[in-house]
């Protein structure tokens, strides 16, 4: 499914950590990996940091047995990355976002947002908040109904889970039942599992078909803290969410749960756009 992987590097360490995930992903998929740095002319210091990172990642990829290539070119990543994606038939691209990007509402005018919206391949946006522990022990993947590209999502999730030998929990949040006289009615886990939407069940089966047996957890709630609190409670060290683009009005009124989780997460997080 994924034969060509591109990992974008810059002078920041979180891009190196994100690219380290790309190395593992490439190994599991048997894919070719391109480590790419677009030198925007930020100065010698930035360039030397990025090139040192490329060096380390290249060595790591070789050690992992991954077919790897380094590309460094001058120019704006806004222009250069789409060209590289097209020229190298890239199937999936890994890039990192920073503390500063996450503080902007809707990530406006940031590279990750622009690329996520425009690239023709799958995109993984990594938010690295924990530097020293890139190998996830327990992955949390929140899921919702109305999933598209089920096979791609399941493959991606399973590949990372297998690649790191991690545990995987699929987490489905449900709205509680509302009764006029009783207010919210909380259901027991078994009752909630019975109410899993059909496409969520399909997704679970698709993950299992990839050779990974996930734990399935359900909970009531859809508030901004639900996913972050769940990851804190169960000591998850990587959250993988699907990208979502809501209507502008809906985003302004109730926010975007992915964006909110990305901002508040206390463990590393990927946003995956198939």
């Amino acid at each position: 499914m994924y034969n060509n992987v591109l990992a974008a590097i810059n002078e920041f360490t979180n891009s190196e950590v994100a690219a380290a995930f790309a190395v593992t992903f490439s190994r599991v998929c048997g894919a070719r990996l391109i480590l790419y740095y677009a030198d925007e002319g930020k100065g010698k210091d930035a360039a030397s940091h990025a090139e040192a990172a490329l060096e380390r990642l290249f060595a790591h990829a070789v050690y992992e047995g991954v077919e790897v290539e380094r590309i460094v070119e001058k120019g704006s990543p806004f222009d250069k990355i789409p060209r590289q994606v097209s020229a190298n038939s890239i199937d999936i691209m890994f890039m990192a976002t920073r503390h500063e990007d996450a503080s902007r509402r809707f990530f406006t005018r940031t590279l990750p947002r622009e690329l996520m919206l425009s690239l023709p391949c799958s995109v993984v946006l990594a938010r690295i908040v924990k530097f020293g522990m890139p190998a996830p022990h327990h992955i949390l993947a929140p899921i919702r109904g109305f999933l598209s590209d089920v096979d791609k999502r399941a493959f991606f999730l399973a590949a990372l889970t297998r690649g790191f030998g991690s545990k995987l929990t699929l987490f489905h949040m449900q709205e509680p039942l509302i009764s006029f006289f009783h207010g919210e009615i909380s259901l027991a886990p078994a009752q909630r599992e019975e109410r899993l939407p059909q496409d969520v069940r399909t997704y679970i089966r698709a993950v299992e078909a990839q050779g990974v047996t996930p734990f399935v957890r359900t909970a009531h709630g859809a508030g901004r803290w639900s996913v972050v609190t769940e990851s804190a409670l169960h000591r998850n060290d990587l959250i993988i969410m699907g990208a979502s683009q809501r209507g502008l009005l809906r985003e302004i009124v109730s926010g975007n749960p992915v964006e909110q989780t990305l901002r508040d997460t206390i463990c590393n997080m990927f946003v995956f756009r198939p």
Binding site: T13, F131, H182, P189, W225, C267
Partner: protein, 878 residues
């Protein structure tokens, strides 16, 4: 990659750092990249939105609608005082909103208390230069320099250790210091000996560590995150109140619409009928319910405080009464946490009292001990105090400590080197298995013999027997080093070998007074008590047995760690009640799983790491004596004596308070019918206004309130702890509605209308004659209606004191507050009826004593009907 499994140099490489530390510029870059190293305030709902929420819950909305109707009515029919009623309703909403809002600060306070546990400044090495920076400026990859007394600023991997020991109590709840080393380690990250965590304290030694997580990404941040965001949801009482208000809203709406249709059919005209509908709806709104409920809970919290349970969240008063599971600690809660030496076993069993083995055991108990005795006062760890006290009772031991290998939780033993009787000895104290492992000899009949397999087996069995009795077991050993012993470069390994095994001591932590009775009460009350302790399974089981638990096989913390939620749920469903070797991080999972199953959970806690579980539980109970500030801030209840029996007393009180709330809800419902029926008569049959708006207010917010509050402090009925926890939805059911609206309501309405017409006809009024609101006769008639309702309230409050027990059996004087409430209610009524000022404000007029006497038979009928109903209820067991 697991950071703790890497060597120090590999860890540095992984973090792109070096022993010289990060260059200053790189540290700043990383700070910008990962954010400051601080516990951020969890961005919850903004304060103003939370304040607004107090005005938008269902009961508030109901009251807003009622107030709006009042102003609408005032607009169409000015001068009837509807605007006053509207304003009074708004005042009720505002007062309640402010009162409730003030209660809602505990999350912020708990997180604030957590923030205080991190250091302000920290020593780092950057570019090879040692410097001090604010803790918030520490970045991943920084090298932090730790020394005794320092607080650790972030999660870090040790790269150098000089006998570093840390106290991880804020994270794990274990107060024993733990040795930390720089070597790689396998196993669980949280238990890894080469990791130091933010918020913990260096108690000995020093070392260098490379930071791998900062701010909210640390373990400490995880606790802060959970503490700030876990939400126990609505309390059972809040849910009940939602149901009550919605039922009342539906009833009011339906009655209003019914009479609207009736009015239109009778040709009353649209606006007249519409105002009539509004009047009916307003008459059905229990304006006094919210303040009465709040005051009753406040009084309940006062009563609980007298029983040493300090209530921090008002709704916890009632929630305690609804709990189905109590998760409790053992040490200090079920037991006194005051150890006493109970048994001593030595291999020299034939001569235990005087043998050398025993003598040396007591010497080791006194010398391998950090407790202090000054002027006959002992201070220190309770176990060590017990050993010191017992040892000093047997002999005065003089000695000087030369060296020590301190206790740590991994080795589970300590060794000291002391001058003793002209020579130098090493004395050891610790867990039996760790002490026996370094012993080669023992003393039998004052002679040293090999500590062979038989003697080891006997010692192990003796220890198990003591554990089965619920004793905490420690072993002791010694070795004579000789008077020429020099400290030199001595190490723990060289000292702790070839020891002479002295024996085993069993210490008892006695159960607190009243604990078995309290556990028995819980059993009878259908409340499951679950013990969650850090102690060994055997000790936990035997204490549970002594406390009267229905003992099941203990579940170990290590098992919980490996279980999925479903497996843990199954173990709990199978009746697991003892969780041994648990850490606070397991407690949160147990609470979450129980809550997920619909249980209402109370949980005790004292440590920083208990805060999330305390927040998650329906009722978080912090220990007031030994608890940390964080736990106290996160809890709903603080126990002033840390005693389990106090929790059970509070549960009993909570159940009584719920019963009492049910009583005064019935009482409040009972006068809505006599308020509404005269108004219906007024609108349909064009009789003079039977009750002014101000009189409705005087009833709802005046005369009704004091007796209702008095019902709120009614003593618990017998057998309150012999019935199972209440089901959801128990506050209001068809029986309560029938009793309130129909049975007592209609009798009251008949009595009230009788008084009204008695005064009207007595004054010469004839059917069909209209009287203005200011007509003296109309005022007298309205006053009779008001007085009738008040007198029927007296009978109702007596009837509502119990739903099944006869008021005469309870004793008319057994709740003096009810009597005081009745007296004040009647005084207030007399003021309104007879005082010119009262007349002016409430539109009333004086009436004769004959009206008072006229109401008495109706009050007697109401009481008699209720007594008959209670008799039938007792007979049928309904």
């Amino acid at each position: 990659m697991k950071i703790h499994a890497l060597t120090a140099d590999e860890a540095l490489r992984a973090l792109i750092s070096s022993r010289e530390g990060l260059p200053e510029k790189e540290a700043l870059r990383r700070l910008a990249e990962y954010g400051p190293n601080e516990i951020r305030k969890v961005r919850g709902k903004p304060l103003y939105l939370r304040f607004v929420a107090q005005f938008t819950h269902f009961l508030a909305v109901l009251l807003w609608v009622a107030a709006a109707f009042c102003f609408l009515a005032e607009y169409f029919r000015p001068g009837e005082g509807m605007a006053s009623l509207g304003l009074a309703i708004i005042a009720v909403i505002v007062l309640n909103a402010v009162f409730t809002f003030v209660q809602e600060y505990r999350a912020e306070k708990a997180v604030e208390a957590l923030r205080k546990l991190l250091p302000y400044n920290v020593k780092v090495r950057r570019n090879g230069v040692r410097r001090e920076v604010p803790s918030s400026e520490v970045a991943p990859g920084d090298i932090i320099l730790l020394a005794e007394g320092d607080k650790v600023p972030s999660d870090a991997r040790l790269i150098k250790s000089n006998g570093l020991m840390v106290n991880n109590a804020p994270l794990t709840g274990e107060s024993d210091a733990k040795a930390r080393v720089a070597e790689p380690a396998e196993g669980e990250f949280m238990d890894s000996p080469n990791i130091v965590f933010a918020g913990t304290l260096v108690v000995r030694g020093g070392g260098d560590a490379v930071v791998f997580a900062t701010g909210m990404s640390t373990e400490f941040g995880r606790i802060a995150q959970l503490t700030g965001t876990v939400n126990p949801g609505l309390s059972p009482l809040q849910r009940e109140i939602i149901k009550v208000t919605r039922i009342i809203a539906v009833i009011s709406g339906c009655v209003g619409i019914f009479f609207f249709g009736l009015g239109l059919a009778a040709g009353m005209g649209f606006w007249h009928t519409f105002l009539f509908m509004i009047g009916i709806i307003i008459a059905n709104v229990p304006e006094g319910l919210l303040p009465t409920l709040t005051l009753a809970l406040a009084m309940g919290s006062q009563m609980m405080a007298r029983k040493k349970a300090l209530i921090k969240t008002l709704s916890a008063v009632e929630t305690l009464g609804s709990v189905t599971v109590i998760c409790t600690d053992k040490t200090g809660t079920l037991t006194e946490n005051s150890m006493e030496l109970k048994r001593v076993w030595t291999p020299d069993s034939g001569n235990a009292a005087q043998g050398k083995g025993r003598r040396m055991l007591m010497v080791a108990a006194v010398l391998a001990n950090d407790a202090v005795c000054e002027g006959g006062r002992f201070s220190g760890d309770p176990t060590e105090v017990a050993l010191l006290r017992a040892g000093l009772r047997e002999a005065q031991i003089k000695s000087r400590r030369l060296f020590e290998v301190p206790f740590d939780a991994d080795r589970k033993r300590m060794t000291v080197v002391c001058e003793f009787k002209g020579s130098v000895y090493a004395f050891m104290k610790g867990a039996p298995e760790t002490v026996m492992a370094v012993c080669s000899r023992t003393s039998v009949s004052d002679a040293l013999v090999p500590f062979d397999a038989r003697l080891r087996s006997e010692a192990a069995k003796a220890g198990e027997r003591m554990m089965d009795e619920g004793l905490r077991v420690l072993s002791f050993a010694y070795r004579e080093l000789g008077s020429d012993w020099q400290r030199g470069s001595v190490s723990g390994e060289s000292l702790e070998k070839e020891m002479v095994f002295s024996g085993i001591a069993g210490l008892e932590d006695p159960l607190r007074d009243g604990v078995p009775e309290a556990v028995g009460k819980c059993r009878n009350a259908g409340i499951r008590v679950i013990m969650i302790t850090g102690d060994a399974a055997r000790t936990a089981s035997s204490v549970a047995k002594l406390a009267g638990f229905s003992v099941s096989a203990p579940v170990q913390g290590s098992e919980v760690e490996k279980m999925t939620d479903a497996e843990l749920r199954d173990r709990l469903a199978q009746g697991a009640v003892i969780f041994a070797r648990m850490t606070p991080r397991h407690k949160m999972r147990v609470v979450s799983v129980l809550k997920d199953e619909g249980e209402r959970v109370a949980v005790t806690g004292d440590g920083v790491n208990d805060a999330p579980a305390l927040k998650k539980a329906d009722v978080g109970i912090a220990m007031g004596v030994v608890g940390t500030d964080v736990a106290r801030e996160a809890a709903d209840v603080v126990l002033l004596d840390d005693n389990f029996a106090t929790i059970v007393s509070a549960v009993e009180e909570g159940r009584a308070i719920f019963d009492n709330i049910k009583k005064f809800v019935t009482y409040i419902l009972a006068h809505l019918t006599p308020e509404a029926v005269p108004y219906v008569m007024f609108a349909l049959f064009k009789i003079p206004l039977p009750l002014t708006v101000m009189q409705i207010l005087a009833i709802d917010l005046g005369t009704e309130t004091l007796p209702a509050l008095a019902l709120g402090v009614e003593r618990p009925e017998s057998g309150i702890m012999k019935r199972p926890p209440r089901q959801r939805g128990g506050l209001i059911d068809s029986a309560v509605l029938f009793r309130g609206y129909i049975s007592m309501g209609i009798i009251s309405a008949v009595g009230v209308l009788t008084a009204y017409f008695y005064v009207l006809y007595g004054g010469g009024w004839r059917w069909g004659v209209t009287l203005s609101a200011n007509n003296p006769l109309a005022r007298q008639a309205a006053t009779a209606t008001f007085l009738g309702i008040v007198i029927m309230q007296v009978a109702t409050v007596l009837a509502c004191r119990s739903s099944v027990v006869s008021v005469f059996r309870m004793g008319l004087f057994s709740n003096r507050l009810v009597l005081a409430g009745i007296v004040l209610e009647l005084l207030l009524a007399a003021f309104i009826v007879y005082h010119p000022f009262g007349n002016r404000i409430f539109g009333s007029a004086p009436i004769g004593m004959d009206v008072w006497l006229l109401m008495v038979p109706f009050a007697v009928v109401l009481l008699s009907v209720e007594e008959a109903r209670k008799y039938l209820a007792r007979k049928t067991g309904a």
